[in-house]
Amino acid sequence: MTADQRHGAEIDPATGYETTGHDWNGIRELNTPFPRIVIWALALTFLYSMIAWILLPAWPIGRDFTRGVLGLDQRQIAMQGYAALERGRDDWMAPFAAGNLDALAADPALMARAMPAAQRLFADNCAACHGTHGTGGPGFPDLTDANWLWGGSPDTIAETLRVGINSGHPDTRVSQMPAFGRDGMLSREAVQAVTDYVLALPGSAADAQSAGAQVFAENCVACHGENGNGGLGTGAPSLVGARWIYGGDRAKVLATIHGGRQGVMPSWAGRLSAAEINLLAVYVARLGANNQHAEAP
């Protein structure tokens, strides 16, 4: 191939345009005129950009930047947006900030408006541990039954939410199930015996004369109550309802008594507003009150 042939421009039959005469191992290029539409498109997008630069904060100048004629500030916009949303909720949310929770819970019109939001708040903050329906799971208490660690009135629940349980909050509720076996407070036999006794408590088949009953009376009643009913405000659950937090088969109960337990419930003060905490407290209290497993303590 001579240089002349390689650099000669020719007409492409399919398009009617000339080639540029460049040839790279068979690849050629057409000398098509620059398409007008590209220039128009560039002009149009540049115009859009110019308008945006004039209206919005855009170009840096030294340590400052052009503010834009609209004077927008994204932080301000966001805060205004939140404030507007909050104002939209104010008519039913405001009473929760400092109201009498029992009275609020007794107002069906208010509940109809507030409870759907409370349900979402629960799903977003609490469901990961307590389950979507609040029924708990291994290690996380069921909030729908009548078995309360600290109490099921809206005010008590609100306090639990505010400070948490064994949390980092200075006023946290503190509770601990001691490790009777591991820490040598009870002999292996005594742990076995009291385990049998605890397992029999729910059916009221427990033998009050047994060795286990003896151990229970000496070691457990201070926290779990005379009959294992709980409700003493120590954070120790009732053991008679067969509604176990950590599981009710022999191995699990034995593990609890041998190794102890100390569940942690985070504190929500600072993460949720006071009104949101109260709203959730009413919601959780109603979970317990409306449910089918309710049993007298």
Partner: protein, 543 residues
């Protein structure tokens, strides 16, 4: 591959492999345990194996004479094999992690198989392993053909390919061991990053030296794109990865950037990885293989030049559109948004130029699945660049950000554009490199094409639905001003889309496996002596 090297080159290669082995030994000795020690052992083993095969060949016959009169295609062949191996492995991991999102209970109990560690194995494996090897392998081919010159030397292509794959292997095995810089697409730790710089410089030098020996007066536009890819990726990689190792004997480091500056540097890198790795390099591929396969001239010479400079100029500004509505100052977001919109023009100009090049060859697009791959790639390039500019507009981004729409957008680019152009290039190149006129199983290309199309469409459409659904669920309020949906409900609503996405991905993977088998069969088939005239112009003196 060793037979193609002269005795002298084998000696140079031997020194290099011994160097790699010593480097591995030092890393192993210094770190003693942990990811860096494992990586040292990997380098040591690689160095020893290569050194032994080179020593064994020192007394074998010298390379055949007259090499300067032929192109050096062995590295390209090797690179294409690695491309497909990485493709199959990394896409399988992708399908697996997609399945885990639908079925999280299936996660095995070992830390190494957790979602968080496997996800970057997928992204690094497909971008760097599959995409990167394809870019290096095809660039060496395109460089030689459009320069009508043989590669400037025979050792450095091997150093580049093997060294690059050592980097990729270090990266993904590091993630499995929990070693990561926690920067997306830049997870590999400091010593792997330094190693990549060394390899990359060798690549650039090889490219420039070969270009300097070209026998064509002009540099073809594909080379401009490949060069932009090599140069800018080097710059991005170095700036984003500047970090202080906690100790030179361990794999942990801290980036020198912090706070919003770190975020900005990361997304300046991240978006330009999309621009210069996943776009510029592949446009180089498109600008070569599409006209070659269609046997048509590029539609507009001027358009290809203008869009090159447009893409290079606009892309470097737009990274901040990944950080809309964050602590990043508003003015940086405005710039990112407006430049993203202007970027659409050169992007569409390139896609349009590619599609218009097919004028006069539409019957080939209909009949030839290989060319159809490239046509569809150009269409998806146009679609995803439009989507990208659209998503960069702040109010649109407020809906799309943090949703699966982003994932859909990325895959319309990577499956529809990047992978399709790679397949088009592979089906054009492999027969040629094997001295044949067609692939071993021409029908399988057709199957592969339809599997890819179906897989991509199912994937992308399900992620669009998923993303828009999520975005709307997160911002819908009920009549009382409370959020209408909990986050959990938006997660549960994803189940059907995640299932579909897994199916789409599996279809695409099936096509890739088919391609790998077809390439293997073609490479093993007996040559028919095609392509004998595919030679450099011999104006330079023979070696």
């Amino acid at each position: 591959m060793i037979a193609s090297l002269s005795i002298n080159e084998r000696q140079v290669g031997l020194m290099l492999t011994i160097g790699v082995a010593i480097l591995g030994l030092i890393m192993l000795g210094a770190a003693k345990e942990g990811p860096m020690a494992v990586h040292g052992a990997m380098a040591l083993a690689l160095g020893i194996v290569l050194a032994f095969s080179l020593v064994g060949s020192l007394f074998d016959p010298d390379a055949p004479g007259g090499r300067a009169a032929r192109y050096y295609d062995e590295p390209t062949r090797f690179g294409l094999m690695l491309t497909l191996i990485w493709g199959v492995v990394a896409m399988s991991v992708g399908v697996w992690v997609a399945a885990l999102l639908y079925w999280p209970e299936a996660t095995p109990l070992w830390p190494a198989t957790s979602f968080g560690r496997l996800r970057p194995v997928h992204t690094t494996g497909v971008i760097f392993g599959f995409g990167g090897n394809a870019l290096i392998a095809t660039s060496l081919h395109v460089l030689q053909r459009t320069s009508r010159a043989r590669l400037a030397d025979s050792v450095s292509p091997w150093f580049v390919l093997i060294g690059y794959n050592l980097f990729c292997a270090w990266a993904v095995t590091g993630y499995l061991m929990g070693s990561t810089q926690s920067k997306e697409y830049a997870e590999a730790e400091w010593y792997a990053d330094i190693w990549l710089v060394v390899v990359w410089v060798a690549y650039l030098v090889l490219y420039l030296r070969t270009l300097a020996r070209r026998n064509e007066p002009h540099i073809y536009v594909a080379n401009w794109y490949y060069l932009a890819f090599i140069l800018v990726v080097a710059m991005l990689h170095i700036v984003n990865n500047i970090a202080l190792p906690v100790s030179f004997a361990g794999a942990r480091s801290f980036p020198v950037w912090s706070g919003v500056q770190d975020a900005m540097v990361q997304w300046w890198y991240g978006h330009n990885a999309v621009a210069f790795f996943l776009t510029a390099g592949f446009l180089g591929m498109l600008y070569y293989f599409l006209p070659v396969r269609a046997e048509r001239p590029i539609w507009s010479y001027r358009l290809s030049i203008v869009s090159f400079w447009g893409i290079v100029f606009f892309y470097v500004w737009v990274g901040s559109h990944h950080l809309h509505y964050t602590a990043l100052p508003y003015w940086v977001q405005t710039l990112g948004m407006t430049f993203s919109v202007m970027l659409l023009v050169p992007s569409w100009a390139s896609a349009g130029n590619a599609i218009a090049t097919l004028n006069g060859a539409w019957h080939k697009v209909r009949d030839d699945a290989t060319l159809r791959f490239m046509f569809v790639a150009a269409v998806f390039y146009g679609l995803s660049t439009f989507e990208g500019s659209f998503l960069a507009i702040r109010p649109v981004n407020s809906l799309s950000h943090y949703t699966d729409w982003t994932v859909g957008h990325v895959h319309s680019g990577t499956l529809g554009w990047v992978a399709m152009i790679i397949f088009g290039a592979i089906y054009t190149l492999v027969p040629q490199l094997s001295g044949r006129t067609t692939m071993a199983w021409p029908k399988a290309i057709e199957w592969h094409f339809w599997l890819s199309i179906a897989g991509t469409l199912i994937y992308v459409v399900s992620m669009w639905n998923a993303g828009i659904t999520q975005g709307l669920m997160w911002r819908t309020y009920d009549a009382n001003g409370g959020l209408a949906y909990s986050f959990l409900e938006s997660v549960m609503a994803m189940a059907p889309y995640y299932l579909l996405r897994t199916i789409g991905g599996a279809l695409f993977l099936t096509g890739t496996v088919l391609c790998a088998l077809n390439v293997r069969a073609t490479m093993l088939a007996t040559p028919v002596g095609a392509g004998a005239s595919d030679r450099p112009l011999l104006t330079q003196p023979a070696e």
